[in-house]
Assembly symmetry: C2
Homo-oligomer: 244 residues x 2
Amino acid sequence: MSTDGSRPLYKEVKLAITRILSAGEVGGGDAIPTEKQLSERFGVSVGTIRKAIDELVAERVLIRQQGRGTFLAPLSPERMLNYFWHIVRKDGTREVPIVQTLGFQGVPADAETAARLGIPPGAGIFRIRNLLLLGGEPVIIDDIRIAQAMFPGLTEADFVSRDTTVYGLYQSRFNVSVLKAFDRLSAVAADPASAKQLGVALSTPLLQIDRIALTFEDRPVESRRSLLLTDRYEYHNALTSEEH
Amino acid sequence: MSTDGSRPLYKEVKLAITRILSAGEVGGGDAIPTEKQLSERFGVSVGTIRKAIDELVAERVLIRQQGRGTFLAPLSPERMLNYFWHIVRKDGTREVPIVQTLGFQGVPADAETAARLGIPPGAGIFRIRNLLLLGGEPVIIDDIRIAQAMFPGLTEADFVSRDTTVYGLYQSRFNVSVLKAFDRLSAVAADPASAKQLGVALSTPLLQIDRIALTFEDRPVESRRSLLLTDRYEYHNALTSEEH
DNA sequence: AAGTGGTCTAGACCACCAT
DNA sequence: TGGTGGTCTAGACCACTTA
């Protein structure tokens, strides 16, 4: 491998490694080739390989373990809680939610969902509705939409019986690694259906969270709308580039 | 400089550089010594200096400019908008708010504010209330509390006549660089005073944002509560470690 | 003991900025 | 032209894991 004059060599190496991961040959938690192997394969120094991997580690795509190797980051429940779960009890404690699946349908995508997921309007999607319990109480309603093409053969049973998080399921069953997400938050009044499911009065203020989850090359994986009851829980956001 | 056996050398160097910046000898936008100078001063290789600076750049404390030097990050309006301003119009466009100062008082700190700011209860604070306009309409109410000890001699005129953001004022007048912030979001119903100031009906759902802003060594700078009207604007959060 | 990533060094050369 | 940071190399040695 050599630079084409425009891009630094380590950026080329980073892209090459990303393509290997993106192709799905490597599953979550699997080791990638060692730095020495990569340096020989690409014909560059180990320092250049390290710089490419440094960036992928900073982006949480890879995990390095001294003495063991470098691995495609597994979407373990622990990692999920650290990186993609921002809902915290007001006393500061964090909990893993209990999920009750309320509905699972295969339907054609409406125009807005199609645009969000980057698929043609009318293409098949799965729509999943969940009620999430925290501290034994219903606190969140989730409405999840994913493309059937990306998750072929997914069934309601997969969702109900999974022993991991939703993103862990995407990775372990379909080799789809969620790497980033974008949340848009606003305050809304509870509609009758939501109020009933959450056990609160009509028009109670709720925190609405619209999320798009992305995998490699910023391909959309999931569009999700959450409604959060913020009497005992709130949404936390750390405005810092490190030490999450 | 040499390692004490427990910490890597570049971490020691990073700490030493941080202390120089934290002492306030270097103002926002000022250059720090060159990599070569630092390498001679600390008696380590340039590579080690670079690794220390790499981390400080990743944390947005420093900014490197090829051919010019390395600088303490200035809290320019542009940077603020990128890193500490998460309120976006629903069509995706970003605006700089117009600020109207509604109140400026020097008062003793209540227990909760004292705890948040890390000062003794009863110590003097400034409390500033602002109304923020976006698209010509009132959209946000801000309630800011800062320690008088950290901002000696601050006056209402400073706030009203400033030609920069609030964080830019902290840095240019008092050498206080805001480096991180933590936001806690919840949905609340508009109380009578807020409803009147924002020009909406009583009990309109509002997005409440409680922020703590921190400087070097995680010292608290500011405690702020914002109330955001989310009919045309929303709060954006990117769950990713890079490319903000 | 062998293999992995982690740290540190020394130096070459390049790209960019100021003057 | 001289000085800055940016890239890339080659190699030594250390810390940790696995067998």
